[in-house]
């Protein structure tokens, strides 16, 4: 019965381990506890508690686990059940396309040239990659950030005219 305090974490861990073939037919949850113990460097006893949802590994162990299971630690800790685990540190190609399409023309007349543009896109991609929100929200954020180029260029032009 699912009664542990950390049951949703346990469910995600079990699903992911099963999906990646770390199974053992004789284990009650079908998970190879020995493999799990190896991943986090903890005893099999504590790993059984993780699987029952009775204990939550500390953050460093969650990170190790996520690295072995090729997922992101945030999904293991807080992901929604039924939604697939996201792959690590990648940006949706459609979002990258959107950023490039919306921003490139704003830098045509920029005083800083291509370096400025490359730095802006790289910075925004890094930020967007780290934001854990819906795609609709990400698009709004990208629009706001891109809109900031025009106001920045306006301020810079005013300053150079004043000089």
């Amino acid at each position: 019965m699912d009664t542990g305090h950390y049951q949703s974490f346990a469910n995600r861990l079990i699903d992911l381990m099963k999906a990646q073939g770390f199974t053992a037919s004789r284990s009650p949850n079908g998970i190879c506890i020995k493999t799990l113990a190896g991943f986090v460097g903890a005893s099999e006893q504590i790993c059984r508690r993780y699987i029952r949802g009775d204990a939550l590994p500390d953050y460093e162990k969650v990170k190790q686990l996520a690295a072995h299971l090729k997922t992101n630690p945030g999904w293991l800790l807080f992901g929604e059940e039924g939604y697939p685990a996201p792959s690590k540190n990648v940006i949706d190609e459609a979002l990258l396309h959107y950023i490039l399409k919306q921003s490139h023309h704003l830098y045509r007349n920029s005083q800083g040239g291509n370096d400025d543009y490359a730095e802006f896109v790289l910075g925004l991609v890094r930020d967007v990659r780290e934001i854990d929100t819906s795609k609709e929200n990400l698009l709004k954020i990208i629009d706001l950030a891109i809109g900031s180029i025009s106001s920045y260029e306006g301020t810079r032009n005013k300053q150079s005219l004043a000089v």
Partner: protein
Amino acid sequence: MDVTAVPITLHPLAEEYLFKHYQVLRRIFSDVLGHLETDYISIALIDQYGQLIFLSSKPSIEQNLIDKKLWSLDGSYHPDFIYQDQPNTWINLNCIESKNSLYHYKQGITGLRAGFSMATNFGEYRAVFSFGLKHCNQKVHEEMLSKHQALLAMGKFCLQEIIKVIPLPNQQKIYKFKPHLELVINNQVNYEKTPT
């Protein structure tokens, strides 16, 4: 008036402000990042009504804190910390219940090994300056706390540069009312009944 009694709320424009001035903030913060080992600077401004906005070198952190409703659990934005002047480490400021979630969004995703916050007055505002480091050991950790005046000066310099180019939201309490509908029947007339 006991200022700590004023509850801290998110300014209605706080989320929009994170990315509305993205390019300007990026430029200003990039001039100082790297000095004193810093990899991240964030400034939280709290007005007299307790409304908070963030100005950050890495707004993805604050976006996640707002989106996951974690900012109010972060000890850096708790009145007890805001209205005093001693610096403190993030690890000491986070309460046990939200420790894992805050660590994940502030340090796990970003690779920041340690962080400090300190609060001070800035004009009509109370400002909380937060600094994050990617490379940190015990020695650096102790040095950073001892150099907090230098860090504070760096944070104030950034804030002065920012207010030269970015208008801060004006200090008026913005109330959010829920729409309220009321049925008004105009043509209802209560005639006096005369006994027959």
